[in-house]
Symmetry: C3
Subunit: 447 residues, 3 copies
């Protein structure tokens, strides 16, 4: 945790490998260039720790912007302002009004956390902003009053400012099990707003969501494979409520900037969601629209390397969790639709919490202490360090035990030798006295 410039070397190891392939056994000049390149990469990948430290000395508004950008990226567990910037770019590409609402949400959530004197480190990591951006965005997405309905900013600001309160309250509960709050505050607050006003409201009407009441028409011949493949980036975009595949693609880039492992699991999760949708006879439209993907994306990221150290077992667990999350997603969507509500990210929260509460006997599924969670690559290094430490400790212990055993053996040998010497000496002595006695005897007999 001490070398802020190290993580990225690891974080971008895939790129290294690719370069290595192009020029196996390069010259020293090339090695130097590579080192310089890695050094450069380390400045804007991972959690941009150097940048964050530099920011601490800047003036308040600039730091606030840093926090807001990190907050935007934290939805995907990414603590990186550059990723946040790219994400905002993707949002603007999707819809100006939504992007504005998202920005307002993040801003006011962060301000509220400052007013309530929450932990400064957490605020600086954007942990109080990510619920805000989702609240702002999704309230705009599900509003039935159309874009640029400025009154919406009022409940938006109120709900965003409630985020740190709900976060703090939930953290008081979840911390007992060393669990994060995920996007639960967002889920609670957006559902709260939507169901409090509802579709039939004069001021803040919501889009009409109704439960399914007849068999959907599923004809496999009508399946559009191109759209099906497109649903993978769309699923990633739907994490922020966006259905534009380009926006989804931009989000993938933003993930890759910070952590390739996160990026890979995001794509994998979205694919698992798509497959689950097909398996459970979902209408193709829903699958194309990415509704089966976004929860699985988040669940797969959370389990696959973020809160567990990535091993093969954990990778399999992450895929299982994604499947479970897809199932749960369908279930929750059906239940919520009875109240005119969308599923939000409840399925992700519940499935990820379930899988994080799991306790197993194997060491290969290692849950990181919440305070040590950063990003998959750094987590992995922490896990390896811990393993190595344990190994050396064990080896040390074994060595000591062996030493002690040997010493004991040696001591025994010495003792035995001493004993032998003693015995010999005694024998000699005895022999002497016997001799003397004999001598005396002989003397007396002589006399």
């Amino acid at each position: 945790m001490a070398h802020p410039d190290l993580p990225s070397q690891n974080g971008n190891s895939q790129e290294d490998v690719q370069e290595d392939r192009v020029q196996p056994g390069g010259a020293t000049a090339l090695q130097k260039a590579r080192a310089r390149f890695l050094k450069g990469v380390s400045y804007f990948s991972g959690d941009m720790e150097v940048f964050g430290k530099w920011m601490e000395k800047q003036f308040f508004l600039l730091r606030l912007l840093d926090w807001v950008l990190r907050g935007a990226a934290q939805v995907m567990f990414v603590n990186n302002p550059l990723s946040g910037l790219v994400i905002f770019a993707g949002l603007i590409l999707q819809n100006y009004w939504w992007a504005l609402n998202g920005f307002v949400g993040t801003l006011f959530a962060t301000i509220s956390a400052l007013l309530l004197q929450q932990n400064r480190g957490a605020i600086a990591a954007g942990l109080y902003g990510y619920n805000g951006i989702l609240v702002g965005l999704l309230m705009a997405v599900f509003s039935n009053a159309g874009d640029w309905y400025w009154w919406l900013l009022l409940p938006n600001i109120f709900m965003s400012m409630m985020c740190p309160i709900v976060s703090s309250a939930l953290a008081s509960i979840n911390s007992r099990w060393d669990l994060p709050v995920f996007t639960l505050p967002f889920n609670i607050l957006v559902c709260l707003h939507m169901v409090a006003t509802g579709h039939y409201n004069n001021y803040f009407p919501q889009v009409l969501i109704q439960p399914r009441s007849e068999l959907p028409n599923i004809t496999w011949a009508e399946l559009d494979v191109a759209k099906l493949f497109m649903s993978v980036p769309v699923g990633i975009g739907q994490v922020y409520g966006c259905d534009n595949p380009w926006t989804g693609g931009i989000f993938i880039i933003s993930l890759f900037i910070s952590s390739p492992i996160t990026c890979a699991h995001a794509v994998l999760g979205s694919a698992v969601g798509m497959v689950s949708g097909l398996a459970l006879a979902a209408p193709f439209g829903d699958i194309y629209f990415g509704l089966w993907g976004y929860n699985c994306v988040l669940a797969c990221i959370a389990i696959g390397g973020m809160f567990y150290a990535l091993t093969w077992q954990v990778h399999l667990l992450a895929i299982t969790c994604a499947f479970f999350c897809a199932y749960l997603g369908s279930a929750i969507a059906n239940i919520m639709s009875r109240f005119g509500l969308p599923a939000c990210t409840w399925p992700f929260c519940l499935s990820a919490l379930t899988f994080l509460l799991l306790t197993t006997g194997t060491e290969r599924i290692f849950k990181l202490p919440l305070a040590k969670v950063t990003y998959p690559e750094k987590n992995l290094r922490f896990f390896w360090k811990l393993k190595k430490q344990e190994k050396t400790e064990k080896a040390e212990k074994e060595r000591k035990e062996r030493d002690e055993q040997q010493r004991a053996v040696e001591e025994e040998v010495i003792l035995n030798e001493k004993e032998q010497l003693k015995v010999e000496l005694e024998r000699m002595e005895q022999g002497k006295t016997e001799n003397e006695a004999q001598e005396v005897k002989s003397d007396s007999t002589e006399e």
Copy 2:
């Protein structure tokens, strides 16, 4: 906590202030009269500790009545039998049958707690009765079988007697976070009874509650300002399910008897609820009927001085909580209506628990340990005492440090002086020897 007669002097400080205004700088005779008056007030305001102690020696039925009356008032967090008596008067004014059901509920809940050997102090404070009165009252209010349907007393008694069991079970959970159970047992049990029987039941039919399915007609011109103002006391009355503004007024009086701070926050909460209703486009009828007020009343009381020590920050937090509670009230009412259920006081419970789970970095938002909670005025004195104690301890510590520093300085001075004296002495000695040497020298030269 040691002076049972002190609280009320503080608790009624507003009255004192008023008297002071009438006669600034009164004579000694007047001061004596005032002291006597305060002493008198102290006997029936606050939690009537003197009366409670006196009661301990009375025979069982009288004590049971005391507990039942305190239980009736504990719905508003008031531990005062006189307030309870006034509340029963208000209930009788509203509806005889409801009042009877409320009384039966409180009685059997208290008896059940005695049978289950619950904490005697809690029973004596009415903490096992308040859920009972609400269960009894609201089961009568929401029954569709009409008044004086005597069979209703059967489920009423059963559910009242379940109150201590559910209370105890919930307390086992909530106590882990040092939280009260509020009216959760009432919410659970009344919803249980209502949804178990439902509207279409031959023996215990419930009133029909249906979800909103069309846009309500809201014309601001039709707003009746008189009714809007009246909704403030009605909102307080609705805590007990009463829509009579006079009953609400009587309840305000009962609150004022025990604790003016509680009373002020109750009125404030009801007003916040009314404003929220207008802001969220609620039908005017609901607002007039006090449905937007009662949860906010309870939430505002709970946060504003009851479980937090009252400071300006806490006062603002209480208002925020009331707004949040109104929002939540609308949401929960919409959800519950799908099951034919009223919102009960779920919104209050959930919002107050959320705000009590909040952790902040500021000292000005101080959550009292649950065991120390009495009533706002006494809580405040506890908080001030704690503050003063901390201050004196800090001052003491600082004084000690200063003393030590001074002593160290003095010691250094003494040491320096000693050192100086030593040096001088040495020098003198040296001078002496030098002189002697010189003398010797001179002697030798003289010779």
Copy 3:
């Protein structure tokens, strides 16, 4: 806990009593025969510990079968492979396809627990199988695709394999209050599957469950008393989703094999459920079908001797819990029907957890530590042993105190005697000196 052959002697005390009645004061030969009989009974009653120990040395598939059979019986809290076998017989009598699904569910749940390296002792006790059998059975029962729809095995296997994950996660939470997870994993997973697919699904349609929307026709004259009595075994059968009274009868036998107390409470619970149904104006059809019984059966078993040590107070508590559970059952069934879901065993889980969270001041309601729970008869012996130990400890303490008092008295006596002797001695000495002085005096006067 040390004598595996003892439990059954107690567990079958009722049979003993019956035999005693037949031949009061039998000969020694008869006594020997009885002892041999009891010894024989002890091998297949209780938790069959001897058999379990013998099994440990057998090859894997046989042990797996043992675990699966124990898992089947653990639904009723019975840890006995013979009971499990009898239960499977009952299931086959009901429906081949359901029995197959139940077997597949138990098997894969147990395998999944092995893969996830869960506690081996818990797996061997069938604690990872009972949710699996319920998941498998009820998914088949509520499937609308008809029997022998082989595709159903796919979600069946997936959901069964999720059981240990959900169990482990819930146990992480419940263990904080030393509570079991009951059948919560089954409830969660079956509801998940049913609501995720729903009635309108092309691949996995569920039976249509709709909320009641009109007054049921209840004519007491139409009450069929024979069917009403039959509803008691049917209610026990409905624990496994079976409506065949013979199947229910077989289940009663399987309970009696392991623990007569469990068996008695199962019948009692089913009867309480039936009475509650009549009291709450349920349609007679539902009561005949056992829908009012199965939750009460489980709740009554759980409270009556399984998790509390059986005393008269606990027996009454178990009956109260059964009534509460019936009420809750009606409520939950009404709520779940809005989502097209059955009540499953949610009512049992919630009511039993509530009653286990109860804390009282009386010693007669003793909740066993979760790790010490086995079966009612053995629990009772544990409780008695504890009581006896406490008693002897108390007596010991009192004896010690008495001894010490006596010794103190004796010591005091000795001290007093010593003191007296001293005083006397002093007096004597004094007398002597006085005499001497007198003598001296007299001497001097003489002179």
